[in-house]
Symmetry: C2
Subunit: 330 residues, 2 copies
């Protein structure tokens, strides 16, 4: 339901390896942060300067009936290793973000098909395990909030953050805070704009035509050749390949239509775009702006700006919510 | 930009006549309320029981360079007449709502093409004229808020109110309050969902295919005969007229697509529909629900409910904001 973006360059190391240093989160209390994904967990300590130390990625334990307990046990091991390596750092809180349907207020992982849980009381389990206050939230929403606090959305109080990768995940920020509607808001990837089939069961979803995954798949279907991701399709389109040009043109039109609807209905000051597709740069941002202006009239055209935190938005956000929990800033 | 709905039955009296009694707003301080439209002004005193007394409709002074001053002078005359007729009633605040682009915080009518003003300091002018606190806001937003406080949206904190009449006006209610984004949010009538031309200059606007006005116009264009409004087109569709059936079917599909997008993106608990088209009853609400369910998958389907205050929503909302200003409830 909340598709994840391809891992960007900055964190493409293999399991268990140290990752390139994440951008800092600024001075404050030291915290321990986890970003739990369907295939791996990112973990790090953040020191009083806000620098991530020991940032690394390790596999997520496979699902099953006891998956919440096994996940928490694994997080404890990771924490023990981090604490052993950095004995001078005493975290005062823990950040824990997970995918799927999340009830952040109740501290419950309501459902995750990848991780195999249903109504898992993850915050309570983590609080017991760490004996520390635990900030718990949804991964994509937290990453979007990090973009607001220290990334591409920081100049805007009202923004939409779109992560366009394998799928398309959206987060609405109103007055600088994620708007969730009980976890149902922001499904821009599964907002219908046409009539093509979508694996989710609905028709005409944006994600099925404009995600990086869909662009690569649609080019492969039309050409009979599997491209090296959407970025090759975009490069082929620029060099005159007609099939690639059509696939990319249709993706841009779909994104522009969706952006036009967001503009008319919720009128964000900015649409912040991250994920693999955002690396297309001007080929994406300039084209999208031109098509958006062309579609609308009296509306207030939002700024279209790239996300800045890339694959680190989740772990940085996890650290930020841990800090905010103790410092009461959120 | 914010089209008004056709005047519903309950207030169809001609200029200067008393109107049928509006629903009450409940007990509280007495207030004086105005709902200023492009062609007429509704005015009333509300007593301590919340009942409108002296509710009537009179023509709006025609526009021009001095239109704000002339409007305020006219409101003063209306207030004097009301006070003379009801000397026992001493209003403690004034509600004033106007169409166009409104900066409610600054108390300024930013622009109204019908009323001929630009950056008119209406709240300050009214405060000087009445020597009372003046609550000032946008007409459609205030009417939608009234639906939340005492009308069809009162069971819902997160709702979209759609007034479908000559045009389509939308208001977003988040946590029970209108979300405005500086006055740009809620333009659901001018959110693009296709490629047909719209008089606003954009392409594919919902209003150009699914408003009551568009339904009547499109039937007239296709059949060569002018119908008695959308309601005749809907009746003709039910009785087997093929042109009417196609026009109505296309309007329903467009409304369902737009509702599906609202559901995916902002996930309201309810979509509250008012204006002339809402009187179609089951032909609208049941059909729309079926098409909305058909378009979506995992999404949380909102309740589709009729607005209850009809043409009185504006004057009731005006009285409610006047009360809230003094009682600090908003």
């Amino acid at each position: 339901m909340h598709p994840t973006s391809p891992i960007p360059d900055v964190v493409r190391d293999v399991s268990g390896e140290r990752l390139a240093a994440a951008a800092g989160i600024g001075a404050g209390i030291p915290v321990l942060a986890f970003d739990v994904g369907g295939t791996d967990i990112k973990s790090a300590l953040f020191d009083a300067d806000g620098t991530a130390v020991g940032l690394r990625r390790t596999p997520t334990p496979t699902g099953g009936a006891d998956s919440p307990a096994r996940l928490i046990a694994r997080l404890q091991e990771l924490a023990d290793e981090l604490r052993a390596q950095h004995p001078h750092l005493a975290p005062a809180a823990v950040g824990l973000i997970v995918p799927g349907i999340v009830d952040a207020e109740a501290g419950v992982g309501v459902f995750s098909s990848n991780l195999g849980w249903r109504d898992a009381p993850l915050r309570a389990l983590a609080e017991d395990a760490f004996d520390l206050p635990v900030a718990f939230d949804h991964d994509v929403r937290t990453a979007a909030w990090a973009e607001h606090v220290i990334g591409g959305a920081r100049a805007y109080q009202d923004a939409v953050v779109l992560i366009i990768g394998t799928g398309i995940a959206g987060t609405l920020l109103f007055d600088g805070r994620p708007y969730t509607a009980g976890g149902y808001a922001g499904e821009i990837g599964h907002s219908p704009i046409g009539d093509w089939p979508c694996p989710c069961g609905a028709r005409g979803c944006l994600e099925a035509i404009a995600s990086a995954g869909a662009i690569a798949r649609r080019y492969a279907e039309a050409s009979g050749r599997t491209p090296d991701g959407a970025k090759e399709v975009i490069a082929l389109a620029a060099s005159g390949d007609e099939i690639a040009a059509r696939v990319w043109d249709e993706a841009l039109d779909a994104l522009a239509l969706s952006a036009a609807q967001l503009t008319a209905v919720i009128a964000p000051e900015a649409i912040v775009i991250g994920g693999g597709l955002s690396r297309a740069g001007g080929a994406l941002f300039d084209e999208l702006h031109a098509r958006l202006v062309d579609r609308l009239s009296f509306h207030r055209i939002p700024a279209l700006v790239p996300a800045e935190l890339l694959g680190n938005a989740g772990i940085l956000g996890s650290a930020l919510i841990a800090r905010a929990l103790v410092e009461g800033e959120r």
